[in-house]
Symmetry: C2
Subunit: 498 residues, 2 copies
């Protein structure tokens, strides 16, 4: 066997460990019985340890050194070697026992977060979170960084991301979006939300609506599932088995539907991976920013467009004939674009969403540097919401306990959400140039042309080139906030007559 | 680390691989999307290969040789060493590639069985089954045997089981049970089944009934789940996560309920395993015969008793108030003890059940020896049903395709079902001696005393001693058909006034 084939065989082995871990994780979130938590943590720790051991075998380092000398490699081979090198370097910096301990703690800590959230009691989560922060700092130190400790964690979710790159990005958005939100608030204009709030929306109806729309967009339910979980996510082991979840609130039908469209977007990306690259790093989705661009595309750019609302109205009426009596497509469109500062990130509107991310980003920066500690979190959280959004959480469940991310130590993850918003606007702007009838197609529920464009320009490209290169290749431009800002200004100014 | 602790650490590692495999297998049967089959087969093959590699490491052989010299070991240590030796010897006889190939083929073959069964077309399953038979013969040859090839496979499910031991056992039952069934048929007596057949039994009602009764018996749903699957089974990764399934037929409420009680019995055994022996072979359930004794106990010995029917009647009426109007406990009792030759093993009554097993046993003997081949199966199956039960299947789905077992190569498994029937009668006979108010307790729904007896005398003993020793320890007698025959004769003669 030559060095490249040997490397691929080893990477396949590692990929299978990851697939199995993906199923265990999904099961833990969705349907595992409560008493199974401790032994599931043992299983996940075993998976994590096994994957880490296989990835850090010295032979992989040797193979990479051989292969990095070669100059006759094609694009895919170069991509696999680059990605394997990145994983190998990151993994060899972390001791095996540390990885196993962290995996074990993730499981434990997710359980206590779930309980704390249900019981609205931060103290239940406090100790596990403190240990998780301590371990994350230690992890950053193991990984190393040039400037600030938090950079080492940012780099895990999008290669090369640093505080010095992210800071101006948020500043740019703040300059344009914050004033926009202020103008909306000052205008006093509000869509009529009474038809939403004065009705009850059955779980069964919401399930039917989510399922229909996910199917219509193109999610393949023979290669995936829809379930319910506390924190919606898209997971599962591989492109043939993509499992997304949503949650239902009988007072609010938008949360489940737009959550479903969001996770459907993630799921479509997974199902669209290049299958000739199965088990290879280049066959994977290309990092969290691009992933989020696909979820945001369907949730917001498409799902909150006037054309989509026109198409979706009859489906709404099918599942909720009583509740939708007298509701027009324009009413629906205005309601799903209601801009108002709110407490819950995943339910925030497009305009305020990035402020939620900014708060988390600022908190994480300070928490990882040691400027603040876990006991400060609940109040710091509430104070920042006061400052940036003008509202204060009445309890911990709607405040500092709302997100699952910190419970599994995903510090540095949140900023990729904002990258996703920017990329989604850039990609749709580029796609429109090749799809002149885009608006009309959406109005007719013809989602295939746009999905095919994404399949060709994004999904099928896997991780062959780096995320920023992929955006450049697909759109012709460097990553930038301009398309997003323009899209948002156009829509909001029209809707709110600013 | 001393040799014993090193062995236990290695066995824990192997046990975790098995736990993970247990979850993957459950998921495949219960909720995996159809297109995921091929990659799930890769995952299961990886699990199987990894477990096999770990079990066959030369170091385990070295440790066993060291430990087998020691004479100061306690009962548990001796048990762990004996069981590890048995697994090690069996595993080292099978080449790693063969094990991986077999695991891969199991997954594939289960899929084609499911399709073949749904489409009533044996040809869909034919090639995969033929390969499975071929691999099973090869497996027997790798494992070795003294007398006939099939012995090597029987031994996998109950240590020491051989054709020469099983043949007389079935002969003994045949002598007593076959004439009993004949007498029932000749008597012409039949319970009134019209209340069953003239009603529709909603899936929801059956789910509620199954759930209530499983909870009442003592299954802990915080450490397990109930789901639906084509072929009911009890699986899952470990005693904190025991997952059983049933299936629903709106024309027949008994299938799901008694199936649920059967799987609940398996589940209770798993949940009752000795937890201080987690990850150790002695902490596992003690083979398939004992396992089946626990399922049969609750399904038949308890579930089809007059006292149980008296207790359960109000619960039936709660879920099916219309359908159960005018039905008495005695009507219920007579209906659930309806003796009549039928096509489906899992729905067979207690009296004819072992004839179903006998047919499978005879077929397997001939199939593994090469006396018949896969293409002969559909007709051989139908002819034997004609001969032993006097009925012929109108199609393949109700005939040769009804059981999942052969699809995963479990030749030699079926006879343990009959062992389970015999053991269950022996265990209840022994328990009654210490529980003088047993009948009265069942009539009141007080299942705890019997469950506690099983916990103490069976469950908590894990696999510390061999199955036949466990039966001797718990009942005072060697394995024997006498208690079962007496139990059946007493009940059937009374019910059918023979």
């Amino acid at each position: 066997m030559n060095a490249y084939d040997e490397l691929l065989a080893r990477l396949k082995d590692i990929d299978l460990v990851g697939q199995i871990g993906g199923l265990l994780g999904w099961d833990q979130e969705v349907l595992m019985p409560p008493k199974a938590a401790a032994l599931r943590a043992e299983q996940l720790s075993w998976i994590s340890k096994t994957g880490h051991e296989k990835l850090t075998e010295a032979r992989i380092g040797e193979l990479l050194e051989i292969l990095e000398q070669k100059d006759d490699l094609d694009e895919i081979q170069r991509g696999n070697i680059r990605l394997a090198r990145d994983s190998y370097d990151k993994a060899t910096k972390l001791p095996t026992d540390f990885v196993a301990e962290m995996a074990m703690h993730k499981s434990k800590s997710q359980i206590s977060w779930t309980r704390a959230r249900a019981e609205n009691d931060f103290s239940i989560f406090r100790d596990d979170l403190a240990k998780m922060v301590e371990m994350s700092r230690k992890k950053a130190d193991y990984l190393g960084y040039d400037d600030v400790r938090y950079d080492a964690l940012l780099d895990l979710y999008e290669s090369g991301l640093t505080v010095s790159r992210v800071d101006p990005l948020f500043a740019g958005l703040r300059e344009n979006v914050a004033p926009l939100v202020k103008k909306v608030m000052q205008s006093g204009t509000k869509p009529d939300m009474s038809w939403v709030h004065n009705n009850t929306w059955s779980k069964e109806g919401q399930e039917g609506l989510s399922q229909s729309i996910s199917e219509a967009i193109g999610f393949d339910f023979n290669a995936g599932r829809r379930d319910a979980s506390t924190h919606p996510f898209c997971g599962g082991p591989n492109p043939d088995d993509v499992r997304w979840t949503t949650r239902y609130d009988e007072k609010d039908p938008f949360g489940s539907l737009y959550g479903s469209m969001h996770e459907t977007g993630h799921g479509l990306y997974e199902q669209g991976r290049p299958r000739h690259l199965d088990f290879q790093p280049t066959g994977s989705a290309n990092g969290l920013g691009i992933h989020e661009s696909q979820s945001r595309l369907w949730e917001n750019q498409i799902g909150r467009s006037r054309e989509f609302c026109e198409w979706a109205l009859p489906i709404w009426k099918e599942y909720f004939p009583e509740q939708m009596k007298g509701v027009s497509a324009e009413d629906l469109w205005r309601s799903v674009n209601f801009v108002e500062p709110s407490l819950i990130r995943v339910e925030a509107d497009e305009a305020t969403y990035n402020l939620h991310i900014m708060i988390r980003y600022e908190i994480e920066k300070k928490l990882i540097s040691g400027e603040i500690e876990v006991d400060d979190l609940p109040d710091v959280w509430d104070d920042m919401y006061d400052e940036f959004l003008g509202i204060r959480s009445p309890n911990r469940t709607l405040g500092v306990l709302q997100d699952i991310h910190w419970s599994f130590g995903a510090f540095g993850y949140f900023p990729t959400y904002t990258l996703g918003n920017l990329y989604s606007a850039q990609l749709l702007t580029a796609a429109r140039k090749e799809l002149p009838n885009h608006d009309e197609q959406i109005r007719k529920g013809e989602f295939t042309p746009l999905l095919e464009w994404m399949r060709k320009n994004v999904h099928s490209r896997g991780s062959i080139i780096e995320p920023s290169e992929l955006i450049k290749e697909a759109t012709g431009d460097e990553p930038s906030p301009d398309d997003f800002v323009k899209y948002l200004q156009d829509k909001i100014e029209f809707l709110y007559e600013l």
